[in-house]
Amino acid sequence: MSGTHDEMDAVTETPKELREMSAALDRLGARDRSSARHDYESQLFEASRGALAGSAPLKLVRPVSAVSRPWMRLAAAVALVAGAGLIASVWLAPRGGGGGVSAPVQQMTQSGGVDSIRADLEEFLSVIEAGDSWSVAGAEQEQSRFWSDDLSISEESM
């Protein structure tokens, strides 16, 4: 590319003592322009023709995350709250004989419930008092039955 001075150069006469420097800068500029590789324009064309056609991704645009949109955030919050409310209502809903999760507790704390707990406790204590030896004997019986079963199986398999 060999250009010419524009019309302003005639008006803006470069001072004589600076002309050499101006020429040196011109040479540097020409050198920089010519230092691009010979197929530079073709490569530039290939790189930018997609943008011209409007078909390629034109710029590096950071994709906007759906969560970063305010209305999506609001919708997500509403959905979250609604979901939590639904789970809570199902969990606490009355079941069968009239109560949710807390119903058995309520029943037990009523007078009938207290009596049944007391009866269960007494029965449990009586079993413990009578049964230390019984429980040991039962365990021994279980153990011997286990070993004899095991033996009979291994004999059969042989």
């Binding site: 524009d6 500029g29 322009r33 230092s35 530039l44």
Partner: protein, 203 residues
């Protein structure tokens, strides 16, 4: 001398711009022929690397093509100022990014880091490097004028339009920059002369 004409091959840029805006590939190719190397030279003057300058130029022309096709370019008759403003901004952004990552972009610095500093240098390269270094010492405002004028090949009127400064200010800056560069180069030559003399004395 430099490419001061916005219309070097008697091609009408405004007709090319109009056609390129409609997706005409040959018109777009014509614009790249007109401005591609000038944009490249502007970028290279700062980053001093061919690959990076190419990358910046690509990015600039993709932006320009996009804007043209989408009808975003509305400043009729001011294509050059707009193109070079986009270029300057892109170069500035890239140089900031490089500074943040603190990677040496000066080939001389890279050569030093690779241990190639002892390699003999051609005299021409030394002059060019000295001139580039002297340019690096100019103020940002003065350097912009010098680069737009000599690398970008723009006339002073276009430079004034790009920088949004009065023409007189641009001319004064250019003269001041040339004077500083001349002083710096003379100073450098004197230093080199002294060094050569002192080496000769030692022998």
């Amino acid at each position: 001398m430099g490419d001061r004409s916005s219309n070097p091959g008697c091609v009408d840029p405004s007709a090319l711009i109009r056609s390129a805006s409609k997706g005409d590939e040959s018109a777009w190719r014509g614009l790249l022929e007109l401005y591609g190397r000038r944009v490249f030279a502007m970028a290279k003057s700062r980053c001093r690397r061919d690959d990076l300058a190419e990358e910046i130029a690509q990015s600039v022309f993709v932006t320009v093509a996009t804007t043209l096709v989408q009808g975003g370019y509305t400043e009729q008759g001011k294509f050059e100022p707009w193109l070079f403003r986009v270029t300057m901004n892109r170069v500035r952004d890239e140089m900031r990014r490089i500074k943040r990552h603190a990677a040496p972009t000066d080939p001389h610095a890279l050569a030093q880091s690779n241990g190639a500093e002892d390699e003999p240098e051609r005299p021409e390269e030394s002059d060019v490097r000295a001139l580039r270094e002297a340019m690096g010492e100019l103020s940002e405002a003065d350097r912009q004028v010098v680069e737009l004028r000599h690398q970008g090949g723009l006339g002073f009127k276009e430079i004034a339009a790009i920088l949004e400064e009065p023409l007189g200010t641009v001319l004064a800056r250019h003269h001041r920059a040339l004077r500083k560069l001349k002083e710096r180069m003379e100073q450098g030559t004197a230093e080199v002369g002294k060094r050569v003399e002192s080496k000769g004395d030692r022998r």
